[in-house]
């Protein structure tokens, strides 16, 4: 095979795959890979950036994403399996969680009247999973209910809760970073799902009970709420 042709293996493959969404950072595709339903996340080149910087940044983000997913997995948090990473095209091939729906859709589709009660167990589980994640010092970076998937289990089985999209994630032990992570979720949660304050409180309660280091984190969350994030109040 000619070198130029073989160098473009992944772009070639992706050009025939189903594009699910295009964000500022990456394109997400759906395809079959090694016989399995797969999601491919391709961080494309940003022409507006200096090429050397672009390469370094993109590479670093890809690496962070893969590390965070593996870290979560080791802690027993349900995340997609990483099948393959190509550092030349900055593409991550991950397991597609088939037969799932987002927590966002789940909340949105439940009747408003029964909303808070029926969804309490879900809120508790989310709190527990996030506590686990933060105890592993993984900061998700983009916590929203669209980045949480529920896959229906067998007939009467419990559904499995997955966290996805670790594109902005990083490792940090700081309560401040964890507090901000929760703050991002709170803002996203309350704006996407109106009148669910009680539900989110449930989530936080569950988080506090499940995490060993929660008090410092909740304290920081309260601080961030007051001042807004990325405001160092210096200057």
């Amino acid at each position: 095979m000619a070198k130029e042709k073989s160098m473009a293996a992944i772009p070639e493959f992706l050009s025939k795959a189903e594009l699910l969404k295009q964000g500022a950072e990456a394109r997400v595709y759906r395809a079959r890979f090694l016989g399995r339903p797969t999601i491919v996340k391709e961080r494309f080149r940003k022409q507006y950036r200096h090429p050397l910087l672009d390469e370094k940044l993109t590479h670093r983000r890809t690496v962070q994403e893969v590390r965070s997913v593996l870290r979560c997995r080791r802690a027993g948090i349900s995340v997609p399996v990483v099948y393959f990473v190509d550092y030349t095209s900055h593409s991550i091939f991950l397991e597609e969680i088939v037969g799932s729906s987002t927590v966002r859709d789940h909340i949105a589709s439940s009747p408003p009247s029964a909303r808070c009660e029926g969804l309490e167990p879900l809120a508790e589980r989310v709190g527990q999973v996030l506590a686990r994640m933060h105890d592993e010092d993984v900061i998700h970076g983009d916590l929203t209910t669209s980045n949480m998937l529920l896959r229906c289990g067998p007939e009467d089985g419990v559904s499995e809760l997955f966290l996805i999209d670790f594109g902005l994630s990083y490792i940090s032990a700081l309560p401040e970073d964890k507090g901000v992570d929760l703050y991002v979720l709170e803002k996203a949660f309350l704006s996407t799902h109106p009148h669910t304050e009680a539900l989110f409180q449930r989530l936080l309660k569950s988080y506090a009970a499940a995490s060993k280091k929660s008090s410092a984190v909740i304290k920081k969350l309260e601080e961030v709420r007051l001042r807004g994030r990325k405001r160092s109040m210096v200057g």
């Binding site: 073989s6 160098m7 090694l34 590390r67 997913v69 997995r73 080791r74 990483v82 990473v85």
Partner: protein
């Protein structure tokens, strides 16, 4: 019996796996492989959980070869290296490559045409009984695999052993 999969990323590249039990000539096979006489990778199946694991390793190997970034000297040694959770090449061979005393072996071939001749040639070399590749999961030494890949207890509860293994293989370069 054997399992062939055409790599989606590299059309034309087919990966065929064959599993043999009651192998009597493991030492001879290994020698042939070292001398480059066998056009395939000889893997110790007790370290494998599922044929998918081999596909992941093979795909990565072909990709590395394509990018000129292989860590070992041949495509077949690269497959064996990719199975290992560490970056130590000789350790990978010791653990995942077939050893002289083995009584089972999984052979991986990468080819692009009709494989019947290749398979026949290989089957003739192996002094053993060919079985369906899917049977590899009956040969898995779960304890050894868990220990080598350092699979945590929590991980085992929330996912399969195959998930844990594949994830580590995929993330090896950055952990």
């Amino acid at each position: 019996m054997h399992l062939t999969h055409e790599l989606e990323l590299f059309p034309g590249y087919k990966v065929t796996q064959m599993l043999f039990k009651e192998v009597k000539n493991a030492a001879e096979l290994r020698q042939c492989a070292v001398e480059g006489k066998i056009n395939g990778a000889l893997i110790n199946p007790t370290m494998l959980v599922n044929p998918f694991q081999v596909l992941v390793a093979a795909n990565k190997a072909v990709n590395s070869q394509n990018n000129g970034k292989m860590k070992t000297r041949s495509l077949y040694s690269e497959i064996i290296f990719n199975l290992s959770p560490t970056n130590n090449i000789s350790e990978a061979f010791k653990r995942f490559g077939c050893s002289d005393g083995d009584d089972s072996v999984l052979v991986v071939l990468i080819h692009n045409e009709d494989e019947s001749q290749l398979l026949a040639d290989l089957t003739a070399r192996v002094s053993g009984r060919q079985v369906p590749v899917e049977e590899v999961s009956s040969l898995t030494d779960h304890a050894k695999v868990k220990k080598l890949y350092k699979v945590t207890q929590e991980e085992e509860k929330s996912g399969t052993l195959l998930d844990a293994v594949v994830c580590r293989m995929a993330a090896k370069d950055v952990m």
